[in-house]
């Protein structure tokens, strides 16, 4: 059963292609068997005749008439469309012609659009990253490679080539940098001033730059190199290039170096370079002794916090000694807080569980804990005897880097996706021997935009399960970060967490409670 109905719209005009589109749209309507919208020319009427859609009333129409014809299962279907035909036309007449910026499909397409481009930020899969990076270097652009899984041979090739052209090659596996005030990849919004940073450690750079900024000092440039740069194979090519550049940079008056302990050959080269520099150089090679750093000619610091505070003091023309009383005062406050928190612990609660999203922060915590309570278990331990057999199962005192590969395969980084860590928080709270859960909360571009909303339910749940448990959060971030540090701080405290301003102070608090 079918019925054909039509309508003549005199003086109406739509171009032939719009007519086809309208026809297609009508044909999609439920109950429509076939339809046609055409101008009433002789040829078109012949087409209607052939397709069995010609109606007697169309006989005398002309090129200036628009004909609508619908073959439908019921009369209601046709009538409904015919009554609303202007609405359908309008949809295609007023289609959005907003011409947004064109997204080029390739690097050279991008260069055509922006010939003065000077930095290429690459975050495609590692196996493609080398080729894209080489294209950028050959075109004279500095490069930041966020991608990991780039071979060390390729890294060496890129860095040698970059160095020969005087270009920066940050990464592979460089998570953060701040160049000319621009936050690249995972970076915080910090004050701009006179402290330059070279970092072979992503969260190390974030923590230091945030503390500096929160102290009222600021960053001239923060250059990431990727963790492998200071290994023997790469020989610190970019670490040294960046150090030289900061030495020559007029805006930079204090230089900060942060890294895991460099290979001894690389350390020699760094030391050789530092000796030529008149600006103060503050260094933390996480895990290396103060003697090693002193031998390099730099001012040694024991934590990321201390590194930042020394640099901030120097940048304002103060002496290192000036900040000592302040640090000692802070230490006392932490101890007092710890003893208050200890009062309501049950006897069986004796262990610490750290759940980290930042790798360097996890390392720093282990170093601080080692001083106070000795080695702790970890998936990335300081001492291989303390390697967790199963990263998913904590043991005694444990700190886990949840940004490590075994947790991130097939899922986003824990700075973005909190679900796995939230699960772990509840799990640890269910263990009656756990006294403290230690968490890092890293703000800034790239990280989850609403970390408080992610964490609060897990913290609340943990507190329900174990009311005597202490949950300590450190925040790496600034007031200017998109997440707003003060807001995150308040909401975590309201949920019952103890919020510390740095990872070092959070770790110390944890250590004093466990001690």
């Amino acid at each position: 059963m079918s019925i054909i109905k039509g309508k003549i719209l005199s003086g109406e005009y739509l171009d032939s292609i719009t007519l086809l589109v309208v026809t297609e749209e009508m044909n999609k309507t439920k109950g429509v068997i076939e339809s046609s919208v055409v101008m009433g020319s002789r040829e078109n009427k012949a087409i209607l005749q052939n397709s069995g859609l010609m109606l007697p009333e169309f006989k005398d129409t002309t090129d200036n008439d628009l004909l609508v014809c619908i073959k439908a299962e019921t009369e209601e279907v046709s009538t409904d469309i015919l009554d609303n035909i202007q609405t359908i036309f309008k949809k295609f007449r007023n289609s959005d012609e907003n011409t947004e910026d064109y997204s080029p499909k390739s690097f050279d397409g991008a260069i055509k659009l922006m010939p003065e481009a000077n930095l290429s930020l690459i975050s495609i899969a590692g196996k493609y990253a080398t080729r894209e990076a080489m294209k950028a270097l050959k075109s004279g652009l500095h490069v930041m490679i966020f991608s990991d899984n780039v071979s060390i041979e390729d890294e060496l090739k890129l860095k040698q080539y970059g160095a020969s052209k005087g270009l920066l090659v940050m990464g592979p596996d460089c998570g953060t940098a701040i160049i000319n005030g621009a936050p690249l990849a995972f970076a915080n919004v910090v004050n701009r001033d006179n402290i330059g940073i070279v970092a072979a450690s992503g969260t190390g750079l974030q923590e230091i730059s945030c503390i500096i900024s929160n102290e009222g000092a600021g960053i001239s440039q923060a250059i990431g190199t990727g963790g492998r740069d200071v290994k023997k194979e790469i020989g610190g090519i970019m670490f040294l290039q960046a150090l030289q550049a900061l030495n020559e940079d007029k805006e930079t008056e204090v230089i900060v170096l942060v890294s895991k302990p460099p290979h001894e050959d690389v350390l020699k080269k760094i030391a050789f370079e530092i000796k030529k520099i008149k600006k103060p150089v503050v260094a933390i090679f996480i895990g290396a002794s103060a003697e090693v750093i002193k031998a390099s000619g730099a001012i040694p610091a024991s934590t990321l916090e201390e590194t930042a505070l020394i640099a901030a003091a120097l940048s304002k023309g103060k002496k290192i000694e000036d900040i000592k009383p302040e640090l000692e005062k802070a230490e006392v406050a932490i101890k007092t807080l710890a003893s208050n928190l200890l009062k309501n612990k049950k006897n069986m609660q004796k262990y610490l569980r750290g759940l980290f999203s930042g790798g360097t922060l996890c390392d720093e915590t282990q170093l601080i804990l080692k001083e106070h309570i000795g080695y702790v278990y970890s998936n990335t331990p300081l001492n291989k005897d303390f390697k967790l057999m199963d990263a998913w199962k904590s043991k005694e005192n444990s700190v886990v880097d949840m940004g490590d590969d075994e947790f991130t395969v097939g899922r986003p980084h824990p700075m973005i996706d909190f679900s796995l860590r939230n699960k772990k928080i509840v799990e640890e709270a269910s263990d009656p021997e756990v006294a403290v859960i230690l968490l890092d909360v890293v703000l800034g571009y790239g990280s989850n935009l609403n970390p408080a909303s992610e964490l609060v339910p897990a913290i609340t749940k943990a507190k329900e399960i174990s009311p005597e448990i202490t949950i300590i959060c450190s925040i790496t971030g600034t007031e200017s970060d998109p997440q707003n540090r003060a807001d995150v701080n308040r909401r975590l405290e309201n949920a019952g967490a103890i919020v510390m301003q740095t990872n070092a102070s959070a770790s110390k608090l944890a250590a004093y409670i466990i001690k």
């Binding site: 171009d15 087409i47 481009a117 930020l121 493609y128 000319n180």
Partner: protein
């Protein structure tokens, strides 16, 4: 630029990968271009090395090739009968579009058009006879492109069909193309009914002599100039030829009136041209062919000089690989269909008309043709995006053909097969759609991205020449 030079400048970032990084940078006021990246087509690494090692020679050859293309000066100089002028044309020969193909592999529309042509030529009385002759082996089939010619859709040229003669005045070579029959049930879409044959006969007996005399009177009609103007008037001279046809009409009409011996015939001829918005297509195509032919056979050149489809295969020829065809299966276009038809009725992509894209027109110039944006998603933005993408796989920008919306930027011209493979981005082609069965005709019009296979083969074939 040294590291310290960078410190003094505004950071300008090309972001490849996570688009959120680009958003963040834009949010913090950093000028950023986000690359909509995808991996290259997988090809043998030794080929990539060969190309890398010869990159200077290739760049120089490609420059030479596109210089020749840009210098081309296509001019309509006359009309004649195919057998008289097309090089190598024989009495028992029928030219078709696309790469070489045998009768058994030909698609419906091509078969239909060949059968129609045999009836038109008087070689067969009816379709049954025509089919028998066509499959007998007595008829020699050859690609138009191998005879300095091009044909839209089925692209059939039989010995007694009238053709336009286009001369490239810069290089002295010629190209040929039949006269456009109009839309709907026409030979080039595989229709062969009596009305089709009657129209072809009228074209031979009335249209052809009338136009021939008029063109003789004018001496020459500058097609490069006419195409350039048409682009400013909303044509891309492949799927929209309304402006080009109007310009041609303006140029030819007085000459027709001055040279005709029969006013009624003259009026019919003018009505025919006026009534067929695609009349100019059969001039824009041979104009492109005439311009591309002198750019053939340049050693080390990876520039595409032919893209053509026969409804079964999509064929590509490169300047640096001589007369070799690189082919792959032709695809069915995304199209807008006439009432009563769907994609299921459509034949795979067909015709030599992709010569316009090869020469920097058609789909490459679609940003100049806002009236037909419904073919590409409905908005001007889509059309601009397609043209912008084509800049990424071409070597040059046209000196004469321009896009008004893009501040009169020259159209993307000279497809580089290396770029196609590197960016996994194939040429964007405007097209008409023929019914898959012989005898039916046109069922729609649309666009498609060329299949990658012929370009991969062309890339490999090109790399082999570097050994």
């Amino acid at each position: 630029m040294s590291i310290n030079d960078l410190f003094g400048k505004d950071l300008k970032v090309v972001n490849t990968g996570l688009s959120s990084f680009a958003e963040n940078l834009k949010h913090s006021g950093v000028e950023t271009v986000n690359v909509d990246w995808k991996p290259s087509v997988n090809v043998r690494p030794d080929y990539l090395n060969l190309i890398e090692d010869n990159s200077d020679k290739i760049a120089a050859a490609n420059k030479k090739t596109t210089d020749i293309i840009l210098k081309g000066m296509p001019v309509l100089v006359g009309l004649d009968i195919a057998i008289n002028v097309i090089p190598g044309m024989k009495k028992n020969m029928i030219l078709h579009s696309g790469p070489p193909i045998t009768w058994d592999r030909m698609c419906g529309p091509t078969r239909g058009a060949i059968m129609g042509a045999l009836i038109y030529e008087g070689m067969a009385k009816n379709i049954e006879e025509a089919e028998k002759i066509a499959s007998s082996g007595k008829i020699e089939f050859a690609p138009c492109h191998e005879h300095s010619s091009v044909g839209p859709m089925a692209g059939i040229i039989s010995p007694s069909m009238p053709v336009f003669i286009i001369k490239n005045e810069a290089f002295g070579n010629y190209a040929y193309c039949t006269l456009n029959e109009g839309l709907g049930k026409v030979l080039r879409y595989g229709a062969f009914g009596e009305d089709v044959i009657t129209r072809l006969k009228w074209m031979e007996q009335v249209l052809y002599p009338t136009l021939k005399r008029a063109v003789e009177k004018l001496g020459r009609i500058d097609l490069k100039n006419m195409i350039a103007q048409a682009l400013h008037m909303g044509d891309e001279v492949h799927n929209r030829n309304r402006a080009g046809t109007s310009l041609f009409f303006r140029a030819i009409a007085p000459a027709i009136m001055r040279t005709t011996d029969n006013l009624e015939d003259a009026a019919k001829v003018l009505e025919f041209i006026n009534g067929n918005d695609h009349f100019f297509l059969n001039l824009s195509m041979p104009a492109s062919k005439a311009v591309l032919d002198p750019a053939r056979n340049i050693k080390y050149s990876s520039v595409v000089v032919v893209m053509a489809r026969n409804g079964t295969d999509f064929g590509v020829q490169l300047s640096g690989t001589g007369d070799t065809w690189f082919t792959g299966a032709a695809l069915v276009p995304d199209a807008l269909y006439f009432p009563g038809y769907t994609k299921a009725d459509a034949n795979p992509d067909i015709g030599d008309s992709a010569i316009t894209e090869t020469g920097g027109l058609g789909g490459f110039a679609i940003a100049a043709a806002p009236a037909i944006v419904q073919f590409v998603g409905g908005s001007a933005k889509d059309a601009i995006s397609y043209t912008m993408q084509m800049y990424e796989i071409t070597v040059a920008e046209n000196n004469m053909y321009q896009i008004p919306y893009l501040n009169f930027r020259g159209t993307p011209t000279g497809i580089d097969v290396i770029k196609v493979i590197d960016k996994s981005l194939t040429p964007f082609i405007d097209t008409g759609v023929a019914h898959k069965n012989p005898g039916v005709g046109q069922v729609g019009a649309g666009v498609l991205s060329a299949p990658i296979e012929p370009f991969v083969k062309a890339f490999e074939g090109f790399a082999e020449t570097l050994k």
